[in-house]
Amino acid sequence: MTELLYETVIDGGKHWSFIARRGTLLTLTDRAGGANVGMLFYNPENPLERYNAPDTLKCQQTFRLTRGHCLYSDMGRIFCSVVADTVGWHDTVAGNANKALVAERWGIQTYQDHRNDWTQNGHDAFLVEAGKYGLGRRDLAANVNWFSKVAPAADGTLHFDRTNSPAGSSVALRFEMDTLVLLHTCPHPMYPAGPYPRKPVALQFSKADPVAADDYCLNLRAENGRGFKNNEIYHLCAADAGAHSC
Protein backbone atom coordinates (compact mmCIF):
# COMPACT_ATOMS: atom_id res chain seq x y z
CA MET A 1 0.00 0.00 0.00
CA THR A 2 1.08 3.53 -0.66
CA GLU A 3 1.58 6.07 2.12
CA LEU A 4 -1.17 5.99 4.72
CA LEU A 5 -2.86 9.40 4.80
CA TYR A 6 -5.43 8.85 7.52
CA GLU A 7 -6.67 6.02 9.69
CA THR A 8 -9.63 5.81 12.01
CA VAL A 9 -11.66 3.15 13.76
CA ILE A 10 -15.45 3.21 13.76
CA ASP A 11 -16.86 1.23 16.67
CA GLY A 12 -19.82 -1.07 16.09
CA GLY A 13 -23.24 0.57 15.90
CA LYS A 14 -21.92 3.95 14.66
CA HIS A 15 -22.06 5.90 11.41
CA TRP A 16 -20.03 8.34 9.33
CA SER A 17 -19.89 9.99 5.93
CA PHE A 18 -17.31 11.69 3.73
CA ILE A 19 -16.54 12.60 0.16
CA ALA A 20 -13.89 10.28 -1.23
CA ARG A 21 -12.00 12.02 -4.01
CA ARG A 22 -11.24 10.21 -7.21
CA GLY A 23 -8.04 8.21 -6.82
CA THR A 24 -8.58 7.53 -3.13
CA LEU A 25 -7.91 4.02 -1.83
CA LEU A 26 -10.07 3.11 1.15
CA THR A 27 -9.25 -0.09 3.02
CA LEU A 28 -11.80 -1.44 5.49
CA THR A 29 -10.64 -3.94 8.11
CA ASP A 30 -12.89 -6.10 10.25
CA ARG A 31 -10.97 -6.03 13.52
CA ALA A 32 -12.92 -8.54 15.61
CA GLY A 33 -14.55 -10.71 12.95
CA GLY A 34 -18.22 -10.72 11.99
CA ALA A 35 -18.39 -6.98 11.24
CA ASN A 36 -20.89 -5.32 8.95
CA VAL A 37 -20.43 -2.04 7.13
CA GLY A 38 -23.52 -0.69 5.42
CA MET A 39 -22.53 1.67 2.62
CA LEU A 40 -24.23 3.93 0.07
CA PHE A 41 -22.66 6.01 -2.71
CA TYR A 42 -23.72 9.26 -4.39
CA ASN A 43 -22.29 11.68 -6.91
CA PRO A 44 -21.72 14.84 -4.84
CA GLU A 45 -22.21 16.97 -7.97
CA ASN A 46 -25.64 15.45 -8.55
CA PRO A 47 -26.86 13.27 -5.68
CA LEU A 48 -29.67 11.93 -7.89
CA GLU A 49 -26.91 9.73 -9.28
CA ARG A 50 -26.49 7.00 -6.71
CA TYR A 51 -25.39 3.42 -6.20
CA ASN A 52 -27.50 0.95 -8.14
CA ALA A 53 -27.22 -2.56 -6.70
CA PRO A 54 -29.27 -4.31 -9.40
CA ASP A 55 -27.20 -2.76 -12.21
CA THR A 56 -23.99 -3.65 -10.35
CA LEU A 57 -25.05 -7.27 -10.01
CA LYS A 58 -26.57 -7.89 -13.42
CA CYS A 59 -23.86 -6.25 -15.47
CA GLN A 60 -21.22 -8.39 -13.76
CA GLN A 61 -23.49 -11.45 -13.55
CA THR A 62 -22.95 -11.88 -9.84
CA PHE A 63 -24.89 -12.15 -6.61
CA ARG A 64 -21.89 -11.36 -4.41
CA LEU A 65 -19.26 -8.63 -4.45
CA THR A 66 -15.55 -9.37 -4.30
CA ARG A 67 -12.22 -8.39 -5.89
CA GLY A 68 -12.56 -7.23 -9.48
CA HIS A 69 -16.12 -5.99 -9.18
CA CYS A 70 -17.02 -2.38 -9.86
CA LEU A 71 -19.81 -0.57 -8.03
CA TYR A 72 -22.04 1.17 -10.57
CA SER A 73 -24.20 4.26 -10.38
CA ASP A 74 -27.59 4.39 -12.05
CA MET A 75 -25.93 6.46 -14.80
CA GLY A 76 -23.65 3.61 -15.89
CA ARG A 77 -20.59 5.07 -14.19
CA ILE A 78 -18.32 3.45 -11.62
CA PHE A 79 -18.09 4.92 -8.13
CA CYS A 80 -15.40 2.52 -6.98
CA SER A 81 -13.67 -0.75 -7.75
CA VAL A 82 -12.94 -3.58 -5.32
CA VAL A 83 -9.18 -3.86 -5.81
CA ALA A 84 -8.42 -6.22 -2.92
CA ASP A 85 -10.52 -8.54 -0.80
CA THR A 86 -9.63 -11.26 1.69
CA VAL A 87 -13.28 -12.18 2.29
CA GLY A 88 -14.68 -13.31 -1.06
CA TRP A 89 -18.33 -12.47 -0.51
CA HIS A 90 -20.01 -9.19 0.39
CA ASP A 91 -23.76 -8.71 0.41
CA THR A 92 -25.70 -6.09 -1.51
CA VAL A 93 -29.13 -7.69 -1.43
CA ALA A 94 -30.36 -7.77 2.17
CA GLY A 95 -30.48 -4.04 2.94
CA ASN A 96 -30.75 -2.63 6.44
CA ALA A 97 -32.15 -3.31 9.86
CA ASN A 98 -34.57 -0.71 11.18
CA LYS A 99 -35.44 0.33 14.72
CA ALA A 100 -38.16 -2.28 15.19
CA LEU A 101 -35.99 -5.13 13.95
CA VAL A 102 -33.09 -4.12 16.20
CA ALA A 103 -35.41 -4.00 19.22
CA GLU A 104 -36.88 -7.40 18.41
CA ARG A 105 -33.62 -9.17 17.59
CA TRP A 106 -31.02 -7.65 19.90
CA GLY A 107 -32.98 -5.59 22.43
CA ILE A 108 -33.04 -1.90 23.26
CA GLN A 109 -30.29 0.02 25.00
CA THR A 110 -30.90 3.75 25.44
CA TYR A 111 -28.37 6.54 25.34
CA GLN A 112 -29.40 7.53 28.86
CA ASP A 113 -28.36 4.14 30.21
CA HIS A 114 -25.59 3.11 27.84
CA ARG A 115 -24.24 6.35 26.38
CA ASN A 116 -22.58 5.67 23.01
CA ASP A 117 -23.43 2.00 23.23
CA TRP A 118 -27.10 2.61 22.48
CA THR A 119 -28.63 0.34 19.86
CA GLN A 120 -28.60 2.32 16.64
CA ASN A 121 -30.00 0.78 13.43
CA GLY A 122 -28.70 1.00 9.86
CA HIS A 123 -31.75 2.71 8.38
CA ASP A 124 -31.73 5.58 10.85
CA ALA A 125 -27.94 5.79 10.64
CA PHE A 126 -28.16 6.38 6.89
CA LEU A 127 -30.89 8.99 7.37
CA VAL A 128 -28.77 10.94 9.85
CA GLU A 129 -25.76 10.96 7.53
CA ALA A 130 -27.85 11.65 4.41
CA GLY A 131 -29.47 14.63 6.12
CA LYS A 132 -26.09 16.33 6.46
CA TYR A 133 -26.05 16.71 2.66
CA GLY A 134 -29.67 17.71 2.23
CA LEU A 135 -30.63 14.16 1.37
CA GLY A 136 -33.49 12.22 2.90
CA ARG A 137 -35.64 9.15 2.71
CA ARG A 138 -36.31 9.43 -1.00
CA ASP A 139 -32.56 9.29 -1.62
CA LEU A 140 -31.91 5.99 0.13
CA ALA A 141 -31.29 2.93 -2.03
CA ALA A 142 -30.35 -0.72 -1.63
CA ASN A 143 -26.95 -0.65 0.07
CA VAL A 144 -23.78 -2.73 0.27
CA ASN A 145 -23.10 -4.71 3.45
CA TRP A 146 -19.33 -5.22 3.51
CA PHE A 147 -18.10 -8.37 5.31
CA SER A 148 -21.58 -9.95 5.35
CA LYS A 149 -22.60 -12.98 3.30
CA VAL A 150 -26.17 -13.84 2.44
CA ALA A 151 -26.34 -16.88 0.18
CA PRO A 152 -29.44 -18.11 -1.61
CA ALA A 153 -30.47 -21.76 -1.75
CA ALA A 154 -31.93 -23.16 -4.96
CA ASP A 155 -35.47 -22.52 -3.72
CA GLY A 156 -34.71 -18.85 -3.15
CA THR A 157 -34.43 -18.98 0.64
CA LEU A 158 -31.63 -16.86 2.08
CA HIS A 159 -29.01 -17.85 4.60
CA PHE A 160 -26.69 -15.64 6.62
CA ASP A 161 -23.16 -17.02 7.00
CA ARG A 162 -21.83 -16.03 10.38
CA THR A 163 -18.33 -17.32 9.63
CA ASN A 164 -17.85 -15.23 6.47
CA SER A 165 -15.44 -12.67 7.85
CA PRO A 166 -12.76 -13.68 10.38
CA ALA A 167 -10.92 -11.07 12.45
CA GLY A 168 -8.44 -9.16 10.30
CA SER A 169 -10.42 -9.49 7.07
CA SER A 170 -10.11 -6.54 4.74
CA VAL A 171 -11.53 -5.12 1.54
CA ALA A 172 -10.08 -2.21 -0.44
CA LEU A 173 -12.02 0.24 -2.61
CA ARG A 174 -10.45 2.44 -5.23
CA PHE A 175 -12.64 5.44 -6.02
CA GLU A 176 -12.99 6.09 -9.73
CA MET A 177 -14.87 9.39 -9.33
CA ASP A 178 -15.57 11.81 -6.50
CA THR A 179 -18.09 9.99 -4.32
CA LEU A 180 -20.20 10.86 -1.32
CA VAL A 181 -19.99 7.83 0.96
CA LEU A 182 -22.50 7.15 3.73
CA LEU A 183 -21.59 4.29 6.04
CA HIS A 184 -22.65 2.63 9.24
CA THR A 185 -21.34 -0.22 11.37
CA CYS A 186 -24.77 -1.31 12.59
CA PRO A 187 -25.74 -5.00 12.58
CA HIS A 188 -26.65 -6.77 9.36
CA PRO A 189 -30.42 -7.37 9.27
CA MET A 190 -29.94 -11.14 9.16
CA TYR A 191 -27.34 -11.42 11.93
CA PRO A 192 -28.68 -13.90 14.48
CA ALA A 193 -30.35 -12.96 17.76
CA GLY A 194 -28.32 -12.43 20.92
CA PRO A 195 -26.48 -9.44 22.33
CA TYR A 196 -26.39 -6.45 19.96
CA PRO A 197 -23.37 -7.21 17.73
CA ARG A 198 -20.88 -4.40 18.13
CA LYS A 199 -17.96 -4.91 15.76
CA PRO A 200 -15.29 -2.26 15.17
CA VAL A 201 -14.04 -1.49 11.69
CA ALA A 202 -10.79 0.28 10.76
CA LEU A 203 -10.74 2.68 7.81
CA GLN A 204 -7.45 3.51 6.12
CA PHE A 205 -7.16 6.18 3.45
CA SER A 206 -4.30 6.35 0.98
CA LYS A 207 -3.71 7.42 -2.60
CA ALA A 208 -4.39 4.69 -5.13
CA ASP A 209 -1.98 3.85 -7.90
CA PRO A 210 -3.24 5.02 -11.30
CA VAL A 211 -5.43 2.52 -13.14
CA ALA A 212 -3.08 0.59 -15.41
CA ALA A 213 -4.05 -0.83 -18.78
CA ASP A 214 -3.88 -4.34 -17.32
CA ASP A 215 -5.90 -3.41 -14.21
CA TYR A 216 -7.81 -6.40 -12.86
CA CYS A 217 -11.11 -4.58 -12.28
CA LEU A 218 -10.96 -2.75 -15.61
CA ASN A 219 -10.43 -6.03 -17.45
CA LEU A 220 -12.63 -8.36 -15.41
CA ARG A 221 -15.42 -8.01 -17.95
CA ALA A 222 -16.00 -6.06 -21.15
CA GLU A 223 -18.80 -4.27 -19.29
CA ASN A 224 -16.31 -2.80 -16.83
CA GLY A 225 -14.22 -1.45 -19.70
CA ARG A 226 -17.28 0.44 -20.90
CA GLY A 227 -18.06 1.61 -17.37
CA PHE A 228 -14.54 3.04 -17.05
CA LYS A 229 -15.01 4.68 -20.43
CA ASN A 230 -18.15 6.39 -19.08
CA ASN A 231 -16.08 7.72 -16.20
CA GLU A 232 -13.43 8.93 -18.60
CA ILE A 233 -16.04 10.88 -20.55
CA TYR A 234 -17.40 12.32 -17.30
CA HIS A 235 -13.93 13.51 -16.39
CA LEU A 236 -13.07 15.16 -19.71
CA CYS A 237 -10.95 18.26 -19.04
CA ALA A 238 -10.78 17.47 -15.32
CA ALA A 239 -7.60 18.82 -13.74
CA ASP A 240 -6.37 15.37 -12.76
CA ALA A 241 -7.46 13.58 -15.90
CA GLY A 242 -3.90 13.01 -17.07
CA ALA A 243 -2.64 11.84 -13.72
CA HIS A 244 -5.33 9.21 -13.35
CA SER A 245 -6.50 8.44 -16.83
CA CYS A 246 -8.61 5.35 -17.22
Binding site: P54, Q61, R137, P189, R226
Partner: protein, 215 residues
Protein backbone atom coordinates in the same frame (compact mmCIF):
# COMPACT_ATOMS: atom_id res chain seq x y z
CA UNK B 1 -46.37 -7.17 -32.32
CA UNK B 2 -49.00 -4.52 -31.75
CA UNK B 3 -51.74 -4.96 -29.22
CA UNK B 4 -55.11 -5.95 -30.57
CA UNK B 5 -58.46 -6.50 -28.94
CA UNK B 6 -58.24 -10.17 -29.89
CA UNK B 7 -55.08 -10.54 -27.80
CA UNK B 8 -56.72 -9.59 -24.51
CA UNK B 9 -58.03 -12.02 -21.94
CA UNK B 10 -61.71 -12.92 -22.15
CA UNK B 11 -62.49 -13.17 -18.43
CA UNK B 12 -65.21 -10.79 -17.17
CA UNK B 13 -64.60 -8.85 -13.97
CA UNK B 14 -67.35 -7.55 -11.73
CA UNK B 15 -66.44 -4.30 -10.04
CA UNK B 16 -64.13 -3.41 -12.91
CA UNK B 17 -62.23 -0.16 -12.37
CA UNK B 18 -59.92 -0.18 -15.36
CA UNK B 19 -58.77 -2.59 -18.02
CA UNK B 20 -55.98 -1.68 -20.40
CA UNK B 21 -53.56 -3.32 -22.78
CA UNK B 22 -50.06 -1.91 -22.35
CA UNK B 23 -48.04 -2.31 -25.56
CA UNK B 24 -44.46 -3.56 -25.51
CA UNK B 25 -42.27 -0.76 -24.23
CA UNK B 26 -45.33 0.98 -22.78
CA UNK B 27 -45.89 2.29 -19.27
CA UNK B 28 -48.83 2.43 -16.87
CA UNK B 29 -49.70 3.75 -13.42
CA UNK B 30 -52.76 4.03 -11.24
CA UNK B 31 -53.80 4.67 -7.67
CA UNK B 32 -55.52 1.70 -6.02
CA UNK B 33 -57.58 1.86 -2.85
CA UNK B 34 -57.28 -0.63 0.00
CA UNK B 35 -58.76 -3.98 -1.02
CA UNK B 36 -58.68 -3.35 -4.75
CA UNK B 37 -56.96 -5.91 -6.92
CA UNK B 38 -54.42 -5.49 -9.67
CA UNK B 39 -54.06 -8.28 -12.20
CA UNK B 40 -51.16 -8.25 -14.65
CA UNK B 41 -51.52 -10.68 -17.54
CA UNK B 42 -48.63 -11.78 -19.73
CA UNK B 43 -50.70 -12.05 -22.91
CA UNK B 44 -48.17 -13.83 -25.09
CA UNK B 45 -45.68 -15.24 -22.56
CA UNK B 46 -42.05 -14.53 -21.60
CA UNK B 47 -42.66 -10.82 -21.06
CA UNK B 48 -40.91 -9.02 -18.19
CA UNK B 49 -42.94 -6.37 -16.37
CA UNK B 50 -40.94 -3.95 -14.23
CA UNK B 51 -42.98 -2.91 -11.21
CA UNK B 52 -42.74 -0.22 -8.52
CA UNK B 53 -45.27 0.85 -5.90
CA UNK B 54 -45.67 3.58 -3.31
CA UNK B 55 -47.92 4.52 -0.43
CA UNK B 56 -50.45 6.84 -2.08
CA UNK B 57 -50.69 8.82 1.16
CA UNK B 58 -46.95 9.08 1.75
CA UNK B 59 -45.01 8.25 -1.44
CA UNK B 60 -41.74 8.34 0.54
CA UNK B 61 -42.89 5.01 1.91
CA UNK B 62 -42.29 2.82 -1.10
CA UNK B 63 -41.48 -0.68 -2.23
CA UNK B 64 -38.37 -1.95 -0.47
CA UNK B 65 -37.03 -5.16 -1.96
CA UNK B 66 -34.47 -5.89 0.75
CA UNK B 67 -37.33 -5.77 3.28
CA UNK B 68 -39.53 -7.81 0.95
CA UNK B 69 -37.04 -10.65 0.48
CA UNK B 70 -36.06 -10.71 4.16
CA UNK B 71 -39.62 -10.76 5.47
CA UNK B 72 -40.80 -13.31 2.88
CA UNK B 73 -37.55 -15.25 3.50
CA UNK B 74 -37.18 -15.72 -0.25
CA UNK B 75 -35.52 -14.06 -3.21
CA UNK B 76 -38.49 -14.98 -5.38
CA UNK B 77 -41.91 -13.44 -5.36
CA UNK B 78 -44.89 -15.78 -5.72
CA UNK B 79 -48.36 -16.46 -4.33
CA UNK B 80 -48.58 -15.65 -0.62
CA UNK B 81 -45.70 -13.19 -0.66
CA UNK B 82 -46.21 -9.65 0.53
CA UNK B 83 -44.61 -6.56 -0.95
CA UNK B 84 -43.22 -4.48 1.89
CA UNK B 85 -42.35 -0.80 2.10
CA UNK B 86 -39.41 1.03 3.70
CA UNK B 87 -41.37 1.01 6.93
CA UNK B 88 -42.25 -2.67 6.51
CA UNK B 89 -45.90 -1.87 5.77
CA UNK B 90 -47.74 -4.19 3.39
CA UNK B 91 -48.27 -2.42 0.08
CA UNK B 92 -49.56 -5.50 -1.77
CA UNK B 93 -50.14 -9.19 -1.15
CA UNK B 94 -49.67 -11.62 -4.04
CA UNK B 95 -52.94 -13.56 -4.01
CA UNK B 96 -52.66 -15.38 -7.34
CA UNK B 97 -49.70 -16.41 -9.45
CA UNK B 98 -49.88 -18.83 -12.35
CA UNK B 99 -46.20 -18.39 -13.24
CA UNK B 100 -44.48 -19.13 -9.94
CA UNK B 101 -41.29 -17.20 -10.43
CA UNK B 102 -40.73 -13.45 -10.33
CA UNK B 103 -37.40 -11.67 -10.01
CA UNK B 104 -36.31 -9.33 -7.22
CA UNK B 105 -32.65 -9.03 -8.14
CA UNK B 106 -32.05 -7.55 -11.57
CA UNK B 107 -33.73 -4.17 -11.33
CA UNK B 108 -34.73 -2.29 -14.45
CA UNK B 109 -32.93 -1.70 -17.72
CA UNK B 110 -31.70 1.79 -18.47
CA UNK B 111 -30.17 3.40 -21.52
CA UNK B 112 -27.03 3.88 -19.44
CA UNK B 113 -26.61 0.31 -18.20
CA UNK B 114 -27.53 -1.14 -21.60
CA UNK B 115 -24.59 0.79 -23.06
CA UNK B 116 -22.36 -0.77 -20.40
CA UNK B 117 -23.80 -4.26 -20.81
CA UNK B 118 -24.28 -4.51 -24.55
CA UNK B 119 -22.33 -1.59 -26.02
CA UNK B 120 -25.55 -0.40 -27.67
CA UNK B 121 -26.93 3.13 -27.49
CA UNK B 122 -30.63 2.86 -26.80
CA UNK B 123 -33.47 5.35 -26.58
CA UNK B 124 -36.04 3.23 -24.73
CA UNK B 125 -35.73 1.59 -21.34
CA UNK B 126 -37.68 0.82 -18.20
CA UNK B 127 -35.81 3.50 -16.27
CA UNK B 128 -36.78 6.10 -18.87
CA UNK B 129 -40.35 4.78 -18.67
CA UNK B 130 -40.35 5.03 -14.89
CA UNK B 131 -39.01 8.60 -14.98
CA UNK B 132 -41.69 9.62 -17.48
CA UNK B 133 -44.53 7.86 -15.66
CA UNK B 134 -43.48 9.12 -12.21
CA UNK B 135 -43.35 12.64 -13.62
CA UNK B 136 -47.11 12.43 -14.20
CA UNK B 137 -47.44 12.17 -10.40
CA UNK B 138 -44.89 14.96 -9.79
CA UNK B 139 -42.38 12.35 -8.71
CA UNK B 140 -38.85 11.94 -10.03
CA UNK B 141 -35.82 9.76 -10.58
CA UNK B 142 -35.13 9.77 -6.86
CA UNK B 143 -38.25 7.67 -6.42
CA UNK B 144 -36.83 4.83 -8.52
CA UNK B 145 -35.60 2.01 -6.30
CA UNK B 146 -34.93 -1.67 -6.99
CA UNK B 147 -38.09 -3.09 -8.55
CA UNK B 148 -39.83 -6.41 -9.05
CA UNK B 149 -39.66 -7.98 -12.49
CA UNK B 150 -42.82 -9.99 -12.93
CA UNK B 151 -42.45 -13.01 -15.24
CA UNK B 152 -38.67 -12.64 -15.36
CA UNK B 153 -36.29 -15.45 -14.40
CA UNK B 154 -32.86 -14.86 -12.88
CA UNK B 155 -31.41 -18.14 -11.62
CA UNK B 156 -28.30 -18.10 -9.45
CA UNK B 157 -25.63 -20.60 -8.52
CA UNK B 158 -24.15 -21.26 -5.10
CA UNK B 159 -20.93 -19.50 -6.09
CA UNK B 160 -22.91 -16.30 -6.55
CA UNK B 161 -23.08 -16.35 -10.34
CA UNK B 162 -26.32 -15.01 -11.81
CA UNK B 163 -27.57 -14.51 -15.33
CA UNK B 164 -30.87 -13.47 -16.88
CA UNK B 165 -32.43 -16.59 -18.37
CA UNK B 166 -35.30 -17.29 -20.72
CA UNK B 167 -38.66 -16.44 -19.18
CA UNK B 168 -40.88 -19.38 -18.29
CA UNK B 169 -44.23 -17.59 -18.34
CA UNK B 170 -46.78 -18.87 -20.83
CA UNK B 171 -49.35 -16.97 -22.80
CA UNK B 172 -52.08 -15.91 -20.37
CA UNK B 173 -50.06 -16.34 -17.18
CA UNK B 174 -50.95 -13.72 -14.61
CA UNK B 175 -50.16 -12.39 -11.18
CA UNK B 176 -52.81 -10.77 -9.00
CA UNK B 177 -52.05 -8.31 -6.21
CA UNK B 178 -54.29 -7.16 -3.36
CA UNK B 179 -53.73 -3.58 -2.21
CA UNK B 180 -53.05 -3.43 1.52
CA UNK B 181 -53.33 0.36 1.68
CA UNK B 182 -53.98 3.19 -0.77
CA UNK B 183 -51.14 2.59 -3.16
CA UNK B 184 -49.69 4.00 -6.36
CA UNK B 185 -48.64 1.23 -8.75
CA UNK B 186 -46.27 2.05 -11.61
CA UNK B 187 -45.09 -0.37 -14.26
CA UNK B 188 -43.01 -0.50 -17.39
CA UNK B 189 -43.70 -3.20 -19.96
CA UNK B 190 -40.05 -3.93 -20.61
CA UNK B 191 -38.79 -2.96 -24.08
CA UNK B 192 -35.58 -4.98 -23.68
CA UNK B 193 -34.72 -6.91 -26.84
CA UNK B 194 -31.05 -7.57 -25.99
CA UNK B 195 -31.55 -10.36 -23.45
CA UNK B 196 -34.17 -13.02 -22.69
CA UNK B 197 -35.97 -10.88 -20.05
CA UNK B 198 -38.79 -10.22 -22.48
CA UNK B 199 -38.15 -13.28 -24.64
CA UNK B 200 -35.86 -11.06 -26.78
CA UNK B 201 -39.10 -9.87 -28.41
CA UNK B 202 -41.24 -7.64 -26.15
CA UNK B 203 -44.99 -8.27 -26.28
CA UNK B 204 -48.13 -6.62 -24.83
CA UNK B 205 -49.59 -7.16 -21.37
CA UNK B 206 -53.05 -6.52 -19.98
CA UNK B 207 -53.51 -4.68 -16.69
CA UNK B 208 -56.83 -4.94 -14.83
CA UNK B 209 -57.94 -3.17 -11.63
CA UNK B 210 -61.18 -4.24 -9.97
CA UNK B 211 -63.14 -4.31 -6.74
CA UNK B 212 -63.73 -7.96 -5.79
CA UNK B 213 -67.30 -8.75 -4.83
CA UNK B 214 -68.75 -5.60 -6.39
CA UNK B 215 -71.49 -5.85 -9.02
Amino acid sequence: MTATAAATSTEKFSGLVSREVVPPGGRWSRRLETGQRLRIIDLEGQQAVDFLCYSAELPLDRINLPNTIKLNKSLYITKGCKIYSDRAKVLFTVIEDTCGFHDTLAGCCSNEIDLVRYNVKKTKSCRANFIAELATWSMGASEIVPNINFFMRVPFKEDGHVVIADGISKSGDYVELLAGMPVLAVLSNCPQELNPAAGSKPTPIEVIVYNPGSP
